[in-house]
């Protein structure tokens, strides 16, 4: 009985440790990936052809990571999340680049139109 009293707490601690260990394999940080995906969506990546592909990839990779987590493959899940984050960040950059490129083109066109309307010779304008 005395051994039982000693074994029971040890068993509880062991079980808790095992459970805790199993639980920790299920906890991964998806925040960075999800935040990047949300930012890409807000940047309008879905409307920019070159960016929408990477946004879609990021989403798929996020789902894959979730699947890997459910299978208990934490390392690969985290690696997959890093992929998703990288794709989402690329989608953001492409979205901004497209908008800025459009804005630059519009600004250059405004200059060209202004010079033409006022019969001023065009300078070498390049993007």
């Amino acid at each position: 009985m005395r051994h039982l009293n000693m074994i029971l707490p040890a068993g509880i601690v062991l079980l808790t440790a095992v459970l805790a260990g199993c639980g920790s394999t299920q906890v991964i940080n998806k925040d960075a990936s999800m935040s990047a995906i949300s930012a890409a969506e807000e940047a309008g990546a879905s409307k920019v052809p070159s960016a929408s592909l990477y946004l879609q990839l990021a989403k798929e990779e996020l789902e894959n990571a979730k699947g890997l987590v459910s299978k208990g493959d934490k390392d690969q899940a985290e690696s997959m999340l890093l992929r998703a984050q990288a794709d989402a960040e690329l989608a953001i950059a492409l979205s901004h680049g497209d908008a800025d490129k459009t804005e630059a083109a519009q600004a250059i066109e405004r200059v060209r139109q202004l010079r033409q309307d006022n019969q001023i010779p065009q300078k070498g304008i390049s993007q």
């Binding site: 690329l90 901004h96 680049g97």
Partner: protein, 307 residues
């Protein structure tokens, strides 16, 4: 046999090593992506992002060296590829921003240039307008001056004419008054009739080669009338004389007609015709030489012979 086996083992090991050194497609893509990004504007515009890509690629390469076929290697290479592309995209964005900034500066500079040109054009136009206005003002002043001079000249001419007319009128009036006075005086000067004497009346003129009295003859005729009125008992013989211009016969007739004209005038004024007889002497009794105008004028005369 042993050497063949060793050779086979070496060959297999070589094959295995060559298979192990083949990088995954993700790493190949990452290398290419980084090569492309680093050779573009990213190195200058977004060096920090390019450096991240470089670090990611280095991790992938190290993982490839340590564990070529692991998912870690592929994922790290994949991430390196994306970071390289991200750096390139950010470089494109930075270039776009720079182009936008440059274009906006050019836009402002162009606007400034337009404003400057507009101001210069406006100033030029204003100067031209001022010059034109000045020219117009000068022309208008010249025109007004010319009109004023013309008006002044016209007024002066009118004034001179009025003055001249007034002077002429005054002179005429004065002359008329003087003449009237002289005429009256002359008219009032009584011709003295003495029986048996002849009174020569000079100044009784006729139209050329006619027996029509001229108006200026009336003054003399009035004197004759007054003399006749003053001497109601007197009878006279009115004799006409001519110069020698024309024929004898015509002058004879002309002198008679002129004597009759004088008598008729006196009769019209109230003198009894019975008191007057007319005779024509023609050119037969000159009192002066007919060779001069004055002499011929003296010869053309009317005489009253008092009976």
């Amino acid at each position: 046999m042993k050497s063949i086996t060793f050779l086979i083992i070496i060959l297999c090991a070589g094959l295995l090593m060559s298979c192990a050194s083949v990088p995954p497609i993700e790493l190949i893509n990452a290398r290419q992506a980084y090569q492309q990004a680093s050779s573009g504007p990213a190195a200058q515009l977004v060096p920090a992002d390019l450096h991240k890509a470089q670090e990611a690629l280095a991790l992938a390469e190290k993982s490839f060296q340590d564990d070529p076929k692991s998912f870690h290697t592929r994922d790290l290479a994949y991430i390196a590829d994306r970071k390289a592309k991200t750096a390139e995209a950010l470089a494109t964005t930075a270039a776009g921003n720079a182009a936008t900034t440059k274009a906006n500066k050019e836009y402002q500079a162009t606007q400034t240039e337009i404003v400057k040109n507009t101001k210069e054009d406006l100033a030029t136009a204003e100067r031209g307008s001022a010059i034109k206005s000045e020219q117009l003002a000068v022309e208008q002043k010249a025109r007004l001056d010319a009109e004023q001079r013309a008006s002044d000249a016209q007024l002066e001419a009118q004034r001179v004419k009025a003055s001249t007319d007034a002077e002429a009128m005054l002179k005429d009036s004065t002359n008329a008054a003087a003449m009237k006075l002289a005429e009256q005086k002359s008219r009032d000067t009584l011709i003295v009739f003495e029986k048996g004497k002849t009174v020569v009346l000079r100044g009784i003129n006729f139209d050329f080669n006619k027996a029509t009295l001229t108006e200026d003859s009336e003054t003399i005729l009035w004197r004759a009338y007054n003399a006749m009125a003053a001497n109601p008992d007197v009878h006279v013989v009115i004799t006409g004389h001519t110069d020698n211009v024309g024929s004898q016969k015509s002058n004879q007739l002309l002198s008679l007609k002129r004597a009759q004209a004088v008598r008729n005038w006196l009769v019209q004024k109230g003198t009894l015709s019975s008191r007057m007889r007319t005779v024509g002497r023609g050119q037969n009794e000159p009192v002066s030489s007919n060779d001069t105008d004055e002499g011929r004028a003296d010869n053309r005369r009317i005489e009253f012979y008092v009976q």
